[in-house]
Amino acid sequence: MARVAARVSDWFGAALWGVIQSGSIIVVLIGWELLARSGLFTAFLLPTLSSVLARVVEDAVSGLLFLDLSVTLYRAVLGFAIAAAAGVALGILIARIPSIHWLFDPIVSIGFPMPKVAFLPVFMLWFGVYDLSKVSMIVFNAIFPVIAATVAGTQGVDKHMIWSARSLGAKERDILREIILPAALPQILTGLQVALPTALIVAIVTEIIMGGDGLGASMIRASRYADSPGVFAGIVEIAAAGWLVIKSVEAIRRRLLVWHQETQAVSTV
């Protein structure tokens, strides 16, 4: 009994702490509702939060929300997965093979900070306006942080750790898989954590520009029909989807890095 009570109070405490920590968001949401009701803005410029949430619920009940969400997430996750696999592989090659380093290092240095959405018209010419161009665009944007993190992570592995493994009987061919990759994992995961929201952002941008289906396309359609609550509902849906994605990746990171110092430290939010 006492244990159950303790469990419940633990849970209650955690929930309360969650509310306190997300306090600023609640303040913004309440401010939105009050401002929209104050009469300073027309419902067209700023619909009330309650009407927007009602639209979100409506979209959810009709199934449209899940249709859009699954299409957008499918593109984002597929593009992210390709960028992750190719980026890690390319990063390892750049870090280990001088000729590949010579070839790709300047390209990565220029490409990383460049606004790559500028290539969107080119991608539309080459690949059309359907999934191929959207997913290619996502890969193109998301791959750079993965490559950069993998190069930095694998080059930064302590050589004494590699030597230890060699003297314990590891062969040269075992070193990459058994030592370098696990040692570089925290940095590679950081690169992936940058790449994933990038993938989501680019998925929505391509949908807004190229149309079709997905959350971004629904938003731009709502905007064209002057459907103000529809546009704001899209923003709320994207924010929620993004938050869920980020949180699940953080959970995966904690799982993978139980051994890492950061896991022993207190996490924020």
Partner: protein, 268 residues
């Protein structure tokens, strides 16, 4: 080089070894200049010298971690060309695998030897107990203190039973008390499981206390300046106060001092 017979064959033979390294910018630097040295079977030899004298480089060459440009190194009569489990190494900063627990770190080398699972676990436990880390088998390195990390690294290396133990300033990163405790424990382990030990340090007292012979190296380019016999009739903590110990520390310190000053002042 000095041979007084009886102590057995040479475990390690270094002959005319020179080593140059290329700094990020600038000309190649001569780190070791025609170094010759013999380490006897089951002896505890300290390599002592000022920082930058190439003593760690010599250790890495024996370990097979660096290519030997000039000269010859033989271990057990065989020419060194790459690292191997006959030469275990312990580094100053432990070089544990941080994603593995203490037990997984220790079993890594045992798995490489192809031992069956239960034998790996049994042997790992034996060496974890030997270095007094019992109870921390499932801890990750990040959860251990510096001294405990070095115990874990020592267990990992000893578990594969190397004939030679190479130690690269193993207690250099530890606080003074932990260092003294670790020195005593290393000695007691070495007395129970005699191995050939090459111990790199820049601490004169540590070298004279632990080793049977101390090879004093000159400032860069490193050469073997003198080999001092540091075996004593007294043992244990009483040794520190014995006149012969104090006298020998003084002698070795005088050898090192000139070199340390030369190393500080650079090439001039």
């Amino acid at each position: 080089m000095t041979s007084d017979g009886g102590s057995g064959a040479a475990a390690i033979r270094v002959e005319g070894v020179s080593h140059r390294y290329l700094p990020a910018r600038g000309k190649p630097v001569l780190a070791l200049d025609h170094v010759s040295l013999e380490v006897r079977e089951r002896e505890f030899l300290a390599l002592l010298g000022p920082s930058g004298c190439g003593k760690s480089t010599l250790l890495y060459l024996i370990g097979g971690f660096l290519p030997i440009g000039e000269g010859l190194i033989e271990v057990g009569g065989k020419r060194v060309s790459e690292p191997g489990p006959d030469r275990g190494i312990v580094f100053q900063h432990f070089a544990l695998f941080p994603w593995k627990t203490v037990r997984e770190n220790v079993t890594y080398g045992l798995a490489k030897q192809g031992l069956p699972r239960d034998e790996q676990t049994r042997r790992a436990q034996e060496f974890i107990d030997l270095v007094k880390l019992s109870g921390f088998e499932d801890a990750y390195p990040a959860q251990l203190s510096g001294g405990m990390k070095q115990r874990a690294a020592l267990a990992r290396t000893l578990a594969i039973d190397p004939a030679i133990l190479l130690m690269d300033e193993p207690f250099g990163a530890l606080d003074a008390q932990t260092r003294i405790l670790m020195q005593e424990e290393l000695l007691s382990i070495w007395q129970r499981r005699r191995k050939t030990v090459v111990f790199v340090t820049h601490d004169v007292q540590e070298a004279v206390y632990l080793a049977e012979r101390v090879a004093v190296m000159s400032a860069r380019p490193g050469r073997i300046k003198e080999i001092v016999d540091t075996r004593f009739s007294v043992s244990g903590p009483a040794l520190f106060k014995s006149p012969e110990f104090v006298e020998r520390v003084d002698h070795v310190w005088n050898l090192v001092r000139g070199e340390a000053i030369a190393a500080q002042g650079g090439a001039a």
